[in-house]
């Protein structure tokens, strides 16, 4: 279903809603295309004319300054016009249905929706009901998926490790509530890493996590041994509707990444975090700002990866209007 919805008849990317259903060749094409865009931010004129005349709508039903900003920068660097819909004051808050909002925006001749929504499946729903010439990019939906975040993480890993084969990757923290973790696991396995470990207390792991192709661990020391990549996740307290943890300090003691714990990984291991980071909750400041941290590179790479996804989806149809 996902593959059918996301791809054109000739296998090109039409929407980007989930990593699910996409093969290694397509994920690699996204990374290669992002590589081409990576240098543009360093030019004197930080723009190329690929999407000149196109209108991209950022439909953010859930707050996220960093993700929205990088989508906006990606679009403007491709010379598209960007419309940021402020949902707090938009018609949906006055009772208009989501579909009516979409229909009205379509009537304004827009070309792409970038959708962030607290409900899983919102981007899929819009992609199923929007006009055929419009592309939809999922910028995070509920606990389901955040595919561009996963791809910028893959891009950052490839920058440092060159190949995915043979890598051991540890994802640490609130796996249960993390759409990023779900997308990362799918992408890492599709790209062929040797081992994906997920490290968290039992309360923060999904029940059937093993079926996702990962090794679940509850002990940080054992989990970090000899890994090449450590991905720390934020505790998503806003999605926790009951007591999942004794306390934040207890969580940091058991699962926080400190310099001592980092020393268990390979000496050239990189430390990642999709942000925003909670210093002293899931990661120590000395590690977040340390020499093995690539957290700010992830932010920069977010622009190039989103430029790649935007051009691939918009350029997927011959004779596009």
């Amino acid at each position: 279903m996902s593959r059918h919805l996301q791809l054109t008849e000739n296998g090109k990317l039409k929407h980007f809603l989930s990593i699910e259903g996409l093969d290694k060749a397509l994920l690699t094409e996204i990374l290669d295309t992002a590589e081409s865009f990576a240098g543009i931010s360093e030019h004197q004129v930080k723009k190329v004319p690929l999407l000149r005349g196109k209108t991209i709508v950022n439909l953010f039903f859930e707050n996220s300054t960093r993700t929205r900003t990088t989508f906006e920068l990606a679009a403007t660097r491709l010379s598209a016009d960007v419309l940021n819909i402020n949902i707090a004051t938009s018609a949906t808050s006055k009772g208009e249905s989501l579909l009516d909002t979409i229909r009205n925006l379509e009537a304004m001749h827009v070309d792409m929706f970038v959708v962030r929504h607290a409900l899983s499946g919102a981007a899929h729903f819009i992609a199923q009901h929007t006009a055929p010439h419009i592309s939809v990019i999922n910028a995070g939906d509920g606990q389901h998926a955040h595919p561009t975040q996963a791809m910028l993480d893959m891009f950052t890993i490839r920058q440092h490790k060159k190949h995915f084969e043979g890598l051991k990757v540890a994802i640490v923290g609130d796996i249960l509530h993390s759409r990023v973790a779900r997308s990362q696991i799918l992408a890492l396995n599709t790209l062929g890493v040797s081992e994906v470990r997920v490290i968290a207390p039992k309360t923060l792991l999904p029940a059937h996590v093993r079926s996702m192709g990962v090794i679940p661990l509850h002990d940080m020391d054992a989990g970090l041994k000899d890994v090449d990549v450590i991905i720390m996740l934020r505790l998503q307290k806003e999605r926790m509707n009951s007591a999942f943890l004794p306390s934040e300090s207890e969580f940091f003691r058991c699962y926080g990444l400190t310099e001592a714990k980092l020393a268990l990984a390979k000496p050239d291991a990189i430390v990642m975090h999709p942000g925003p980071i909670n210093r002293g909750v899931e990661i120590a400041s000395s590690v977040a700002d340390g020499s093995q941290s690539v957290i700010l590179q992830q932010v920069s790479n977010g622009i190039a990866v989103r430029m790649a996804v935007m051009t691939m989806t918009m350029g997927s149809r011959g004779g596009m209007q």
Partner: protein
């Protein structure tokens, strides 16, 4: 000139002579030679050596500036352009392998102007063929040829450089 008589060495000799004349005529000052990926870059490497230019060779990939993105989409294997950060006030020799419709050169000029406003741009090509679609034309050339519709000329290389005439079906 007939396509059967095209000889790479002769074409390079002709082009070199033509460029030298134009450099003198237009009084180009320490020109920057820029080759367009990929055939133009191959020719530019030869010409950079022949002309004994002191400035490093520049390379340009025009993929992000093409005017047919809406028809053909994105090509994933884009080579990064290698140009000095500022082209403001520079004298430039822009070099491509084949001049056909003129659209590649339009894209290249758009990209160059994103690096600054050059003083002069001299356009040099190994071969100019019929089929121009926009009002641009080369200043220097190795040869000018006529090809029937449905045929195109393609440079293969980088070593050895060779010229092939292809029909449209296999040129795709």
């Amino acid at each position: 000139m007939l396509t059967s008589t095209l000889n790479i060495t002769e074409l390079l000799d002709n082009l070199e002579t033509d460029i030298r004349q134009q450099i003198a005529l237009r009084r180009l000052n320490t020109p920057l030679l820029i080759g367009i990926h990929s055939g133009g870059a191959w020719i530019a490497r030869h010409m950079h050596q022949r002309l004994g230019l002191t400035e490093p060779l520049g390379l340009l990939d025009i993929t992000f500036y093409r005017d047919d993105f809406s028809q053909i989409g994105m090509h994933p294997n884009v080579k990064a352009s290698q140009l000095p950060p500022h082209l403001e006030g520079r004298d430039i020799i822009l070099l491509d392998d084949v001049f056909y419709t003129g659209r590649t050169i339009r894209a290249a000029l758009n990209e160059i102007f994103d690096y600054g406003r050059p003083n002069q741009v001299l356009l040099a090509v190994l071969i100019e063929r019929n089929g121009r679609q926009i009002p641009l034309q080369p200043d220097c050339r190795g040869a000018r040829i006529e090809l029937p519709e449905g045929q195109r000329i393609k440079l293969t290389g980088p070593e050895p450089l060779a010229i092939e005439v292809q029909t449209l079906a296999c040129a795709a």
